[in-house]
């Protein structure tokens, strides 16, 4: 029976190579000295490790500024979404009220919003309300993009916490808010954590709105927009471009590592691609 495993193992390795190679090549190029990058025959293994390209990327004008902008906008949007979603998720998971079904339906529909088709009106609205070139407008948009998904997943996590626990606390003399803070919130914390990290990735990666709404004030650009215009910044310096891409990917990778269990168990909500 052993020989039957060979094609299976070979295809498994092929899948791994295809999946990993572009990322591997990015990191490898980032660490290669320029003369190795420009060599007519590429090397596929690290021979000499150089940090020059990372230095070039980090020293590029505005890098830390764009890094900070991305962080502020992503965190702002996600925290706002978390606070608002927590309220809504509680109402949906714990209370019975008229219009509940319609509300849930609305959230599901909102989750599938084709944001790519709303670029033009967003631009016009931002212009009319003097929000063009403002990071706060991006924060609001990222809040809205991540909100529906955050409500859906938080509702799932809340639903998994037995109501009995809360009721016992109420019987013991807690107020509804105390019961939530002392009993539900600690149990909900892991769910809050993973939900917000997924939202963070979505916001961190967002390009279309950042590219459209930040035009004149170049200091307010975010990392994805800056990175997409690498040929303006680095010209044909592919080492620096790959170093910048690597630095851009690191936070996302860390988040994925922190979430590995949940990722592989298959969150079908389509959170990451939005």
């Amino acid at each position: 029976m052993k020989w039957r495993r060979i094609p299976l193992t070979a295809s498994a390795l092929l899948v791994c190579v295809v999946a990993v190679f572009p990322v591997y090549w990015m990191v490898l190029t980032a660490f290669k000295p320029t003369k190795d990058i420009q060599a007519p025959t590429p090397t596929f293994w690290p021979t000499t490790v150089s940090f020059d390209h990372f230095a070039t990327a980090v020293r590029a004008s505005g890098f830390w500024l764009f890094w900070r902008n991305s962080l502020v906008v992503s965190l702002g949007g996600v925290l706002l979404a978390l606070a608002v979603a927590l309220l809504a998720a509680f109402a949906v998971a714990r209370m019975r009220w008229k219009g509940r079904r319609a509300f849930i339906l609305m959230v599901f529909v909102a989750q599938m919003t084709p944001w790519e088709a709303l670029l033009i009106p967003m631009y016009v609205i931002a212009r009319d309300t003097d929000m063009l070139d403002k990071l706060s407008m991006l924060t609001l948009i990222y809040f809205m993009i991540t909100l529906p998904f955050t409500i859906v997943t938080l509702r799932g996590f809340l639903g998994a916490i037995p109501v009995d626990l809360e009721e016992a606390a109420l019987v013991d003399g807690c107020t509804r808010f105390q019961a939530f803070r002392r009993i539900v919130f600690p149990l909900l914390a892991p769910g809050l954590m993973s939900t917000s990290l997924f939202g963070f990735i979505t916001a961190w990666n967002e390009f279309a709105f950042a590219n459209l709404l930040i035009i004149k004030n170049r200091d307010d650009r975010t990392l994805p927009v800056w990175l997409s215009s690498f040929s303006n910044t680095f010209g044909t310096d592919w080492g620096a471009t790959m170093a910048a891409s690597t630095l851009f990917m690191v936070p996302v990778l860390l988040v994925f590592l922190a979430l590995q269990g949940r990722v592989t168990s298959g969150i079908t909500a389509g959170a990451v691609k939005g």
Binding site: M26, M95, M112, I120, I141, M144, M249, G270, K273
Partner: protein, 293 residues
């Protein structure tokens, strides 16, 4: 009947009204107005009825874009579905360690930000120093020496397909695989005793049982590919020529470069309408799955 639940959902409803519903309505309104650069700056747009839609639909370029978008969607989605089904089947056939390895590799791909992936693919297919050309030349395809992939319409189209398929397979494969693990193994065992081969096992057991899951993933992928904008914009901006201009890119182009916001809004509305058709299929599948709403 308490007022509390309504207070709790109020921020969500208000936020969605301003940041989702209002832009959608505004898009609809702009699409029935004369709204160019002058109206953007000074305001006072006049209503012109369905003129913008008539203009868009009468333009042969629009129909070329629609055909290209459909081709782009079909090619991508077919590749994604076939490859991710194969990878999911592979995962369920592998031993524990090899399976964890493959899953780890897929998650790495999945975690790659779109913009990082677009820069890497531009580097892989770079004409002079790109590793793809080097490999092709080594394999004996001398014509790929210094071949400029992004100067040619079809090769740019091909690279975009490769990029989107590469990015989409991990999610679909991992979801299909985790669905496959829920199929009771007794079914397979008794079918094997009856002499069924692997193809028969897939067509008579796996696929029929997981049909809703396949439907769900299929409609999600159709939606995602159909509206994909960032990959195309970051790599080719719809070019060279208009070889990679799909509907979302086309709408953005006529609004941003030509300042025809009205026409762009009309094309966006048509895109949304086409998406709604797919979305309805998706929601039907999803609510069948979500028994308790």
């Amino acid at each position: 009947m308490s007022i509390w639940p309504y207070l709790l959902i109020a921020p969500t409803v208000l936020g969605s009204a301003y940041l989702l519903l209002y832009p959608l309505v505004r898009n609809l309104v702009i699409s029935v107005q004369h709204f160019r650069l002058g109206e953007l700056i000074r305001g006072g747009a006049t209503f012109v009825g369905l003129d913008n839609y008539r203009e868009a639909l009468a333009d042969p370029v629009f129909w070329a874009v629609v055909r290209r978008t459909l081709l782009f969607t079909v090619v991508n989605v077919v590749l994604i579905m076939v490859l991710s089904t194969l990878v999911a089947l592979l995962l369920s056939a592998l031993g524990k360690w090899l399976r964890l390895l493959v899953m780890g590799c897929l998650v790495l791909t999945w975690a790659t930000p779109i913009i990082a992936a677009t820069t890497v693919f531009q580097w892989l297919f770079q004409s002079r120093l790109g590793v793809v050309n080097w490999v092709l030349v080594q394999l004996g395809f001398e014509q790929f020496q210094d071949y400029t992939w992004f100067a040619n319409g079809s090769s740019t189209f091909g690279i975009l397909v490769a990029l989107i398929v590469w990015q989409s397979v991990p999610f679909a494969a991992l979801s299909l695989y985790s669905a496959m693990t829920t199929v009771p193994s007794e079914l397979y065992e008794s079918a094997k005793i009856d002499g069924a081969g692997s193809w028969r096992l897939f067509t008579s057991i796996t696929f029929p049982i997981l049909r809703p899951m396949f439907g769900l993933i299929l409609s999600l992928e159709v939606i995602w590919v159909f509206k994909s904008f960032v990959q195309i914009w970051a790599i080719s901006q719809g070019g060279p020529g208009d070889a990679t201009t799909t509907l979302p890119v086309y709408a953005f182009q006529i609004a941003q470069s030509l300042n025809k916001y009205d026409l762009g809004a009309a094309v966006s509305m048509i895109t949304v309408l086409l998406l709604v058709v797919v979305l309805l299929a998706y929601f039907r599948q999803m609510f069948k799955q979500e028994a308790e709403l």
